[in-house]
Each structure stands twice: as structure tokens, then as C-alpha cells.
Amino acid sequence: MTHEKLTMAQALNRALRDAMAEDPSVLMFGEDVGPLGGVFRITDGLTAEFGEERCFDTPLAESGIVGLAVGMAMNGMRPVVEMQFDAFAYPAFEQVVSHVAKLRNRTRGAVTVPMVIRVPYAGGIGGVEHHCDSSESYYAHTPGLHVLAPANAADAYGLLREAIASPDPVVFLEPKKLYWSKEEVDLAAPVPGIGKAAVVREGTDATLIAYGPSVPTALEAAEVAAQDGRSLQVVDVRSIVPFDDATVCEAVRSTGRAVVVAEAVGFASVSSEIVARVTERCFHSLAAPIRRVTGFDIPFPPPKLEHFQLPGVDRILDAVDDLQWEDS
């Protein structure tokens, strides 16, 4: 019996525990991930279960954390590190871009850095500045990294296990606002795998393309639209890099209309990429240009204003309404 009701936070914790139990080279470290169990409790109990040498607190320095992980990965370990919040990963940017992403390539595959950088990310929790950034575009633009963003507990478990097992470095983006949503999870279910998107709701009129924190919002929008007689398909990208062109394009071709939904600032982002690549591939199947519903091109707002920034059901449905239904 492997079905259990778990929050995403619990599913992530379970993934770490199972991976650490299976493979002694898997280590977990970062700020406050030891006795405290992480500020979001994702690492709860790991130090108690596996000891201080397998799950430990580091000095407070993100470049140090990632750089240490690089060296450990070079020397036989599979480190998983936690960046405490999205914006606090920026001090590690040079290590990520110039080393994590490049070491395999630099050495023609001689040196590999199998490691996972876990980042609690994005908004929707009323967090103050620097605690709500959607930073996926920085990583997705950097070749050599895999970039994953689960949208539910089952994927969180499966994708984190895959990420830890991967021979390549993975930036693993955990939507903070979904940490506490509970669902039935089958831990033994086979995982579609890195690089696979999923059609999470069938529909015929238009396709919503989303990932991470925006998937539940897209599903909610589809539900509302259904009541208005419009059938919206929802695709969960899951794996931002590598991107699943096949699944996404097939979906868009089937409806001829699409809206990309993402919390991040829109300019030069993953959502720009999705619009560009899907348009390049599906141009003649499109009845209307693909619309984007994203964060505005502004710093993430303070708590009292964040609802304006987050793509909501209304904005999504407005964009769907704009898909030139009369012309078609």
C-alpha cells in the first residue's frame, strides 16, 4: 500500500529520505536544514535519521554552499543543497553558471557534478521582498542545468527522486505556496521522467500552458471556463529544461489557441520562450497569437499588493477571451 495523503512538503521530505536511505553518497546541506529541518521543514528529521554527516547546516554563505557541493560532487558524492529562498540563491550565481552548469562540458564529460539545488520559490504566501522571486528564467537560460518545477505532491516526490538520481545538475524549484496542499500520492508510481510535460486536463477550445505555482491556477481557470461552456486543455510543463516540445506542441495543435501562464516577470523569460518555440513550430495551426499571462515587468510587490502580480483566474480568462474567437 503506497498510496498516502501527503502535502508537497511531506512528499519532498520523503523523497530526500528515500534517496538518502538508498544511496549513502546522497547528502543534504544548507542553511538551517539540520536540527531545525529547514525553514519550510522540508528536511525535517533527516539529521536525526541519517546523522550530522549526511544532513548538516553550513555557515551562512550561498556561494560557499554551492561551491562546496561542486567539490563534493566531483569527489563521489551526490549533494542536495537548499537555498533558503529564491532571492538568496543569487550570491551563488557565479558558482551555478560558471561551474555547476559547465564542468561536464569543460572536461568533455570527465568531471560530472550530479547535484540538486533546491529552491523554495515564487510568491503567493504574503512574503516580504526577496522572498518571492520567480527565478526560473535565469537558470533556464543557462545551458548545462536541468530545471524542474513540480506542481503537485506526486510530481514533487517523483521529480526530486529523478533529480537526485540524475547524472546532471538540477535546479529544483519548489513552489512555496503549494508546500501545504495535501493530496493522495502513490510513491511507487512510475515517474514520467525529466523532460516530460503532462496534459493534466483535457480540453478542445484552447490550451493553457503552465508550470509550478501556476498549474493549480490554470486548472481553476479551466474549471471556471467549463462552466461558461469553454473547454480548456491544461498542460503542466513540469520540466522547463529539457522542454517537452512534443507534448506541448501536440496539445496546442489540437486546440489551435494557447495561453502561457507563469508568475515570473514576463520579459525575456521562460514564458517568452514557450511562446516563441511553440509559435515557430505550430504557426499554421494557430488561430490567434499565443497570449501570455505573467507577472508584470516589476520587482515582486509587497504582500498587500502581490495579488495584482500573480496570474489569477480572471486574467487568464481575459487572455482566453482575447484569442480571437470571432475570427476563427
Partner: protein, 361 residues
Amino acid sequence: MTRDPAALLPSAEPVMLIDPSGAPTGLADVPDDDTMLAAYGALVAARRLNDQAYALVRQGRLAVYPSSHGQEACQVAAAQVLGADDWLFPTYRDTVAAVTRGVDPVEVLVLLKGDWHSGYDPYRTKVAPQATPLATQLLHAVGVGYAAKLRGEPTVVMALCGDGATSEGDFHEALNFAAVFGVPVVFFVQNNEYAISVPLARQSVAPSLAHKGVGYGVPGERVDGNDVAALLAVLGGAVAKARAGEGPQLVEAHTYRMQAHTNADDATRYRQDDEVAAWVERDPLTRAEAYLRGRGALGDDQVTAYAAEADRMAAHVRDGLNRDVEPNPDDLFDFVYARRTPQLEEQAALVADELSREDAR
């Protein structure tokens, strides 16, 4: 390589001028009674502010509050040793320092109330916006000080950070830049033994954090962080040296964070109650009070007067935070650049349109 290492090393023990019982240690003169009374008054207000803010979190008026309960002496002294043209660079935990320097507490708490990222005009009181990304503000402090130095202004900058923040690369770069350019900055580390859950022993194995100055040619000093007299003396001395052209100074205060990291934190996961209890008797407020009472410089009447003053401030804070501000979506787009870009105009129009349709519904 210009500095003699012996001149850079801090004292083996933190400087203490008044012991926990309130008695002078005799190590050096305690500041005069007026200075000590001013400090005492600020401490009373500070404690009241910490308590009030904590209560406001429970009432849902503040999202969160990183209390400086136990560290008030550090923050009061950091503000009080500065002159009007000096600058203060506080962190998220340094509400008390900002308020002691004259920022309206209601404005300081805007960040944690969630109306905006920062609620005060930094130029009015020369208090920089509270910094959250750790240690980053230390470099800004050096820049502010260097700009003043280049213009020949006598500004000194007081740059605050915690023990945990000393591990960040920016701490290193800030001390080094300040030293190389001879910038009048006092780097003041409030070592409160923890960075959230991580104890100092996992942060550093240096003899002390003040010893970090040696590697930059910056003199280090250690001070009892719960002794406001010692803090006024040591920080005041550091400011004077910086102003006299002796370059940056590093001061480490040994103190303790009596409450959890913030209200969102559960301190029982990483420390024992008896550890906390041991620090109660070192309380900065009772120590200052005992000293002043001992000298006859403070009586019940004055204590009551200071408390009443603090209550008025607390009432002002409550009033301010209980006032709901209507969020204005234009604010989202108006401060990103000096003028909205065409893209921001479009996006602001989109929001306005959405809202007007909502109103119409």
C-alpha cells in the same frame, strides 16, 4: 602592508563597564549620567517597541517581526553614538536602531506590515533602508562613506550585521574595500549566538568575530552587548577613530537573541530553555536601571515617566498599524524607473482595465 598586527587584535575579553548586577567594573569610566539616562530612556522605548510589535504579529497586523529583545543596548548605542550627518545601515532586526535614530516606528514597520518594501525616506534621518539580503548592505555603507570622504565631508557610517552575516562573501569584500580606501565605517556585528537555528560554533571557529579585522588591517574590538555603557564607550571610540581618519573599525558585541528568530520560528528545535534563562540576568535594561538607580541618577518617578513615554510611542505604533492603507496598483509601476516605460504603461493600463471591469460587476 602597513599595519602592525598587535594593533589590530581585539581584547581577549569583551569590554564590560557595568556588570550584570549594575556595578561599575572599573575598567574605564562609565559615560556621564545624562548620556546614560538618554540611553536608559531609549532602552525602555526599545523594549516596549519589541513587545508591541510582537503583539501586533499575534493580532495579524504585522506579517512577522524579528525581535531584538535582549539586543536593545546594541541598537540604542549604535544610534546614539552617531552625529546628525552620519549614516546608519540597519538590517531587518535593527528596527530599534532605526527608531532610536529618529525614524517613525510606524514607517519602519511598513515593510513587515506589507504595505510597501520600505516606509521611510532614508535621507531624512540618514538611515538606509533595512537590508534583508545578508551582508549586502555593508558594501553600500562603504560606498556612502567613501563618497562623503571624497567630498571631504566628516560623515561616519555605522554598518550593522549579525554573526551569521559575517560568513557571507560581501562581509569580506566590504571590510577589505573600506580598509583599502580608508573609509570611515564602523562595522558593528551583533553576535547574538545564532543565525536562525545555526549556533555560532557552526558559523566560525575564529577566536572571535572581532579577530576577522586582522586580515583586512582593520582594528577589532569586543564588547559586552548587554552593557549599554560599554557599548557607548566602545562604539563611540570607534566612531571617533573613524572620523579622525584612522579608517574602518570592527566591533563585535556579545549578546543574545532572547526570542525566536521571528515569530515564524520555533526556537525549541535548536536550543534549550536553560540557555535562554542564563541570559535573563544579563538583561541590558535591568542592568542600566540598576546602575543608574545605584548612583541615584534614576528614581521611581523617572522610571514611570520613561515608561509612560514608551507607552505613548506604543499607542502611536498601534494606531499606525491598525490603519489600513488601500493598496494602489499604480504604485506597482511608478517607481521601477524614473518614468514608466511604454511596457509598464501597457501593463498598468491592463490592471486598471481589470479593476474597472471588476468594479462594474
